[in-house]
């Protein structure tokens, strides 16, 4: 019997062995076919990580034609300049990355938590840095941007927190999911105390994240005129499912939100907040986490969706390990492939077919740091 727990390294080696076995199993003709198709399918960096042994991953021989792509930068957690330069350095690197993409993404999503403590100067610095992005930037709010002044500055800089637009046949929704019930008035907290409480990942004083009644009503209204056959792309800061409550890797009213999204044939949710490789599927909804530019979070002790391809521990000496940015390729048929651009590791592509098949097909290569 196989052991219950397999380390990331073990699974990586198994995946590699499987790929190598497949290579031996191919005759010359099908190898050429696979190799040619793979080479031809490389549309952009990261879409096909160019390992020799990935050329034979047969699913790659017949990819759905990508329709368009967007890039993201997320969870920059900028501090005031005089306090911390490392995170500034990281977001500059991300901006440089997305500006170097060829072809350019249709837009760049900012995934929330631009600031660390929601201060006007933190937000302004982030805004000014993001001005350097060549593609249009779509902003999303995170709890670190919000709880100092309940969004006053953020909204004055970037506009409404809930909004939607249509792009190349896809209905795109940006949804505020980090509403918290009032825990501060009764405790007589100052705005900064409120912010600092929320900024503590495992600070149990705060409430759980939720889209809230108002947000759900807005979402229903927004989707009222969208046909159920239209592919949906939803951006939220917290994952729109229940992963780990104590860290707010969680949306309290996720079930209600999922019910609103249920009638749609293809729904892709892309979220921030968790700072890690994270994939999930619930019915018709595919979920992808975004990387942070600032730091990676460890995986929560329980609740990890089984479809997640984990990354192993980040090198604590390397600011850029476990962090990065990424892209999403939207296919013409409404499904999305998620590409994690890990700065100091190989990129990882989580294909829609992997989630749709419940992990049976197109398993991504596990991300692995060279052993210590």
């Amino acid at each position: 019997m196989a052991p219950k727990h397999k380390s990331v390294e073990t699974r990586f080696m198994e995946a590699r062995d499987e790929a190598l076995r497949a290579l031996r199993g191919l005759d010359r003709r099908s190898f050429l076919k696979v190799a040619a198709a793979s080479a031809g399918a490389v549309l952009a960096r990261g879409l096909l990580p160019p390992h020799a042994f990935q050329l034979v991953n047969v699913a790659y021989a017949d990819p759905a034609q990508p329709g368009w792509s967007f890039a993201y930068i997320s969870d920059t957690h900028l501090y005031e300049k005089k306090l911390n330069e490392r995170f500034v350095r990281a977001v500059l690197k991300a901006v440089d990355d997305v500006n170097a993409l060829s072809p350019q993404p249709d837009f760049v999503l900012f995934g929330g938590d631009l600031a660390q403590l929601g201060k006007p100067e933190e937000l302004a610095m982030g805004r000014d840095i993001l001005k350097e992005v060549k593609a249009p930037v779509k902003m999303m709010v995170g709890e670190h941007d919000w709880f100092l002044d309940l969004g006053e500055h953020w909204k004055s800089m970037f506009g409404p927190v809930n909004y939607s637009f249509d792009h190349k046949g896809v209905h795109v929704v940006v949804l505020m999911s980090v509403v918290e019930r009032d825990f501060w008035t009764a405790r007589k907290m100052t705005p900064l105390e409120r912010m600092q409480t929320v900024a503590g990942l495992d600070n149990g004083t705060q409430s759980r994240f939720e889209v809230g009644e108002e947000g759900r009503a807005w979402l229903k209204g927004d989707l009222a005129k969208v046909a159920h056959t239209t592919p949906l792309l939803v951006f939220s800061h917290s994952p729109l499912y229940k992963y780990y409550r104590d860290w707010n890797f969680w949306t309290e009213d996720a079930d209600e939100v999922q019910a609103i999204l249920k009638p749609y044939a293809h729904v892709t949710v892309v979220h921030g907040h968790t700072h890690q490789l994270l994939s999930n599927r619930i019915g018709n909804i595919h979920f992808h986490g975004m990387l942070s530019t600032a730091w990676p979070w460890p995986y929560a002790p329980t609740g990890l969706p089984p479809l997640t391809v984990m990354m192993n521990r980040a090198d604590p000496f390397d600011q850029f390990d476990g962090t990065g940015d990424g892209r999403v390729v939207m296919h013409a048929d409404g499904v999305a492939d998620k590409i994690y651009n890990l700065w100091d590791r190989n990129p990882v592509t989580v294909r829609a077919s992997f989630l749709a098949s419940n992990g049976a097909r197109d398993k991504p290569m596990a991300t692995k740091l060279v052993t210590y």
Binding site: P50, N84, D96, G200
Partner: protein
Amino acid sequence: MRRTAGLLLLFCCTVARGEIPKMGPLAQPKRADQAGLPHELTAAVTPADNPTTPDKVALGQKLFFDGRLSADGTVACATCHDPAKGFTDGKPTAVGIGKQVGHRNAPTILDALYNDTQFWDGRARTLEDQAKLPITNKIEMGMPNLDAAVASVAKVPEYQTAFQRIFGRPINGDDLARALAAYERTQVAFDSPFDRFLGGDENAMDAAARRGWATFNGRGRCMSCHGVNGTRPTFSDDKFHNIGVSAHKQNFVELARKGLQLIDSGNARAVDDAALQTDMSELGRFLVTKQAHDVGAFKTSTLRNVLVTGPYFHDGSQETLWDVLDHYNKGGVQNPFLDGGIQRLGLSEGEIDDLVAFLAALTSDSYAAIGKKELARQRALSRTKRPQRDVAAALGKKAQGAGFQGPFGDAMPPQTLRNPSTIGGR
């Protein structure tokens, strides 16, 4: 015609043989009773199909100094890996046949047996694999193929009998490499003052070197890549890092983008071709893995005998250890592919001097005299010439955003020494 070529070859050999270093006492296999020698690890890194035997080592040593392995007889392994110079050549980048200059600095053979991979970009796994490649490299030893080298060696009757005796078969490329590798595996260096210090002799290193050892493990952050322990005794993590050396070259970012574009086009072979024909050799490990995060990354080199194996970095661009430390102190040269571990250090002059003293204490006894002279030379140079020194950048008083475009390129705020995790509060 063939006869003329043969005569020409003979002529070249006689004229140029003098350029190949002599086999002095430093070329001999090293003693096995060195203070810090990791015996078990040494056994573990010796392949089962190539045990180290005295006969084989002697054969390998002879071959190591034999110019007949090169196309015109002028270059031997020892040309670039001269035992008298710590098995390097003391030049910024290697010089091969016909005085052709390569792109990379010749690394030392000392302790190379412990490397996970060989070459600056790790393209060979073992010493055996490594040994074959310079022989057929156009600008190094220039043989058209390994068989040509075998044929050249096979003309010598002594070699024929030696190979037959040791391997039980006629000379062939694999055995040639095995003999060279067996000799290289005897070049171990664990008899430095540092090894005796670790062994319990507190006075083996002077006070400056001891302070340097503390800085090495502390504020200098050196041990995050150059850590030393039982399984990695050579001060290398055997990984590949972009420490911002390639970015010294003006066109590095442009080259990197071009390399990535070639990969994106789906034609990985195009990168290999470009690497040979252009200065894409600066892209380092990327040429092997074709991964973006390996652009400009080179292998962490050993620090043992670093004092006598300069000049430094993959391109030999830094002449003294002070220059190397100045480079790290200011956080390298910014570029979009810079390793996340490279940060400005804010070390003082005193701390830098201490670190050099510590690095000097990693010199083997056999190189002690050469090292003493070299340290004096480098120290004298460092008192007047510090091309990499940038105190403002090292102390965070100046932005260093050369690689970044836009208004924040020159407005990087100073780094706080306060732990950021304490700022958010609970």
